[in-house]
Structures are given as C-alpha cells and as structure tokens.
Symmetry: C2
Subunit: 341 residues, 2 copies
DNA sequence: AGGTTTGCCTAAACCGGTTCAGAAGACTCG
DNA sequence: CGAGTCTTCTGAACCGGTTTAGGCAAACCT
C-alpha cells in the first residue's frame, strides 16, 4: 500500500547532488544555479517527493499549526453558532498555507490555563487565538510568558502585547435602543451576558449609555452566563414583575429566542405586549416567530481576520489591530410599537 | 524567558549514562536496573525535562493527534449543536492521553477528500473520525487506501474495515409516530434530512415503517439538507396545502423550531392545529414555545465512545463496534391532540 | 599578477528523541 | 572451570529535514 516515502536523500542521490542543495532548491533559497534548481525540482516531482512535516517540525522548531482553546460549558457552547462559523473563517486562511487548527474544548478556566501550557511545552502550535476575552484576562500574561504569538478576539482591558481583532458593539446596541425608543418604548430592560466576559460587560455598558443618551432613566439589567436557560430565567423575571418592561434587549440571540418562548408562554404578544431584540443574527433568527430583530455580526469575518493577523504576526513579528465594521440592526418582526407604553 | 529546553542528552550527561538508557528508563521499558531507573527519573524530574513531541513524532512516525474533518455548509453547521458537544466528548478522552484534536472545516466534499489526503501525507494525525456518513461513502475506501485508522459515526451501508459507533434512530422515530397516533393523528408528515446522509435516510425509512406499522397510509415526506431554512420551507409547503397534516415529524430540532415559527406565522396553533416534533433534544427545545417534543440523543456520549474506540483501535489494531442506547422520546408541549383530526 | 569577491556546491552537524547490535559483567549450570 | 545465559548498559544509526562551515572555481578588482 504505502509506498516507501521518498525523502530528500532519494532526490539528492537521483540528482547526483547533496542533501543540502536539494533542501536549498526546494525552499527556493539563493545559492543554487537555475539549472540545478529546475533539475532538482523536476526530479522531486517525478519521484513524488512530499515534505515530511515531522522532520521539518523538528529542525525548524515549528509545528505548522495554530491553536484554539475554548473554555465553555458544552451546554452553552452548543447553542452558540459563533465558533463553528469562526472556525470556518479561520480555515479559509489556514488551509491554503498548509496550516492546521488544533482545537481544545475544556470545561473550566483552570484546565484552560493548563491546556495552553501543554500546547506550548509540547510545541503543538505556533500561535493561538484568544477568544471570550475576560476582564484582566490571565491568559494574556500567561501567553506572554510562554512566548507564544497570539491574537485576541476583542480588545483587552489590560496592557496586551498582542494584536486584537475587535468590533465595536456599541453602535449596534445604541441603534437598537434608539430604534426601540423611536417606536415609543420607555421601559426597556437588558438581559446582559456574563459580566466576566468583555463583550458581555461592554454590551451592557453600551446599553446603559444608550438609555442615558435617549434621556431615559437607567433600565433594568439582569446578568446571565449567555446560556439559553439563563436567558429564559431572566425573561421570566422581567416579565412577571409589576409594570414589566415593554421591550427587552438581549445580549445574544439564543437568549432572545428563549425570551420569545417565555413571552409566548406567559400569554404575551410579541411585539404588541413586549418587544424583543437579540444580538448576532444567528441562523435561527429569521425562522422563529416573530422573526427576531437583532444586530448582525459576522463570525466568519472574525475568523478570516484573526487568521490573517496571526499569520502576519508570526511572519513579520508584528501585526496591526483590526477593527471590524460594527454590526447593524436588522429589523424584523419581534420589535414594534408597544400597545400599552 | 524560555530557558533552554532540557533534552534527554542533558539528563544522560547528568546521570552519567547513555542517551539510550535514559530513553529506556523514561518509557519504562525492560533492560534498566531499578536503581538506575529511579535515579534517571529523579534527575529528569529535577532538571525539568519534558519530552519533545516533535522529536518523538519524527522517530516514532506518529503524530499524537486525531483528526476530524467536517464538510458542511457553515450555515448549517452553525445551527447544529452536534459537533460542539461531540468534540467536547472526544476531548474528555483525548486530553488525558496527551492527544490533540486537529479540526478541519471544509466547504465541500471534494475539498474534504483532499483534506484527508493531506492530513495523511503530512502525517498530521494518527487516526480520524468519520462523521456525517453518506451512502456508499467514498471516504471509507479512501481511508482504507491511505491506511489510516478510523472510526465511523454511524453504521456504513457498505463493507467497512473500521469500527463504528452507532445508535439506532428507529425506536425514537417509531416512538414519536406511535405517540402522535395515540393522540389521534392520522395525517402525519415528515420533514426529512438529506437523503445523501445515512442518518437522514434512515430516519425517513423509520418514519415510513412506523406509519405502516400503525396501519396508516404512507405519509408525505419532504427532503431537506437539514438546514433551518429548508425546514422552514418544507413546513410552509406542508401547511399551506389543502388538507395539511395534523402533525409533522422533523428529522432534527433546528428544522422543527423553524417549523414552529412557520406555524405561528400562518396563524396556526401548536399543538391544536398542528403538532410538531423534533429530533436530538438540543438546548433550545426546552425554551421555545411550546417546548418541543423531541427525541433525546447524546452527542457527547458519541464523542466519548468514538474517542475511546479510536484509541483502542490504534493501540490494539482492532476494536468492537459500539451501539449507543437509542434515543427516547421527550414529551413536551409541541405535540398534542389534534383539534380537527 | 595577486588578492578578493562571488556563485555554486558538499560534508557534516543538528533538531531530540527511539532503537538496535553488541559489549561487559554477573550468574547459572554441567 | 569454561560455556552459555541474563541483565544492564553503551555507541551509533536512524527518523527526514535545515543549516552552517568551508572548498573550489570563475569573475572582479587595481
């Protein structure tokens, strides 16, 4: 079956030159005559030579792979389409370069730190993506100490030596709130994501600011862990109290969809009795009823940008931050004029 | 920062023995006196030696990584929580062994085949998981030819040299149909998954059989690609025709949730006017309205079983098939007695 | 002319492990 | 006591590339 792998030594012998020269020719580096170069390439081709990643790894001390460590409760992970799309985006830039993606899904943050350490000490990856950025993220100093190139998904709130790919969630949240206000809403609540996560607390801050700018009093906010279950709980709490909000801004779509379910269950009409908005514009949003008004983000663009930036960083030693265009509000049916403001 | 990596040569020098002996001691293989062994281990420990995966890879011709290639439209991938959970399950068995998971998300089947080839020729992985099994799956002969250990997720419909992890979907579908019939439904339709995918066509066959066994005439089936959008389209077609079905069995939850949305949009009451059931019991099902009656499956158990089986296969050269317990129907509110049978 | 540079190439070391042939010493056995 | 066997260990080859030091000849000075 597996015909004996042909090595550069075979090519060298066939071409009557030294191993070193073959290596030079193959990597087209100077110091090889044009004539020899084509002959060597031709012979390598004819012999069906393919480079041995393992040998190359050993001598160049690179692994030709990038890492992504995801620390999330599998439950939360499942309902969040961010990662599949993000990964698909990353792959579009890695694959052409012959780089692989090493994925780790770990249950908690402690394991996460250990995982980074072992990825490095095993030399498994040449760089990593840092997602779900947290406040004062301990992974940044860790990776700095480990000397591993990294790209952060989101702008860290601490000093960071790494380039970041970020998108400002503020405009999307602000647009949402303005839209709701323009429809006549005055009691607007927010179901926030995890306050430990930067995008969670930033969306919340954006919400607070937007209310203030609309001249409204501070609204209710409930913190969650971004999970569908927590979103449902929060919605229930908000909607079963006295004088419930007429609109709820959810920090992500899965929670908003759960909110829709809760509203229906409570016999409330959406958007007549309560308006609901989401964030991310996942696949589902178009197909729930009423279709979800939400802010569109583009996870696969993140993936592409992150991949490119990490490649640049590794090749050039430095890479600029990337600011992705802010998400725009997509208006569908789940938000409307309140029946009883 | 990065202190010069300590190698077995350092340990050997320090212990006053040869490199070979150190290697033997470290891998605890016979031929080392108990005395030397502990001394070498002690010194390795003291020096902070850690094995170089790269060097080991080169000399043992193994990569200590397993591969998963996912060929799916990113859109479909995003709404399907199978893979995140599956991967989390796989990781629980890989991580303790120091194995990594190499993930590839590719857009189409052609790229998929190329990806397998390059994973092998690069020696990136020691084995792979074969998911989304198709009829007459070309990946099986390919992997056989490439000599790569593999585990199939689902039982292939062709001769296969690989162990498979499978679960029989028939009981779940049958239970669903029986339940609907017991509620009084007579016109039951099916929104099937992709006929190219084994689990798609098997669920459909199970549906047909179940109807027959209930003494009902063949029901309507619509084929889809498992995507939310296709599910919504199918639901719309089914529900807008003359004498629409009173119940729709969807081949997965995302489509069922879309079906729920379509029903609402058409002004139909669920379950009074139409009952809807899903398959998989994803996170969302509990939180849509009405909560989805569906069949529970356990993707992370698949992951664990697949991981263990692949490890066994690689270690022992053979591993038995695993039959996972069939999914049971989870009764919630989306299916009920038809108002107008 | 002699010395320096340049272009092309080779040999060998190196990356950090594993593995194998065989040496040296201790032990067994007839 | 000498041959044979075990155990323990060494040295070197090996995995398949990259990289460096240096050799040799032709071209380039002045």
């Amino acid at each position: 079956m597996s015909e004996p792998k042909v090595t550069i030594a075979d090519v060298a012998r066939e071409a009557g030159v030294s191993k070193g020269l073959v290596s030079f020719a193959l990597n087209d580096r100077p110091g090889v005559s044009a004539e020899s170069r084509v002959r060597i390439l031709e012979i390598a081709e004819r012999l069906g030579w393919t480079p041995s990643l393992r040998a190359r790894s050993l001598s160049t001390r690179r692994s030709f792979a990038l890492g992504l460590v995801i620390a999330r409760d599998p439950e939360v992970l499942g309902s969040d389409p961010f990662f599949p799309s993000f990964i698909a985006g990353v792959e579009t830039v890695l694959a052409p370069q012959g780089l692989a993606l090493v994925l780790s899904v770990v249950p908690d943050e402690k394991t996460e730190m250990r995982t980074y350490r072992s990825l490095v000490s095993d030399g498994r990856v040449d760089g990593v993506f840092l997602s779900d950025l947290r406040h004062n993220d301990p992974r940044i100093p860790l990776l700095q100490e480990l000397g591993l190139p990294a790209v952060t998904l989101g702008r860290p709130d601490t000093e960071s030596p790494f380039p970041c790919i970020s998108v400002d969630d503020t405009p999307g949240v602000a647009e949402t709130v303005r839209y709701l206000v323009s429809l006549g809403h005055r009691r607007i609540a927010h179901v926030a994501g995890s306050p430990a996560l930067l995008h969670g607390s930033r969306r919340r801050a954006a919400f607070d600011t937007a209310l203030r700018e609309a001249g409204l009093p501070a609204g209710q906010s409930i913190e969650t862990d971004f999970s569908v279950a927590a979103g449902a709980d929060a919605a229930r709490r908000l909607l079963t109290q006295d004088s419930p909000p007429t609109a709820i801004v959810f920090a992500n779509d899965p929670m908003a969809i759960a909110g829709l379910g809760v509203a229906h269950e409570l016999g409330l009409r959406v958007p007549d009795d309560v308006s609901i908005t989401g964030f991310d514009d996942i696949d589902f949003t178009r197909y729930v009823y009423p279709a979800l008004t939400t802010v569109r983000t583009a996870p696969s663009d993140w993936g592409r940008a992150a991949g490119r930036t990490l490649l640049d960083l590794m090749a050039l030693g430095t890479a600029p931050d990337v600011d992705l265009p802010a998400g725009r509000l997509v208006i569908r049916g789940s938000a409307g004029t309140p029946l009883r403001p």
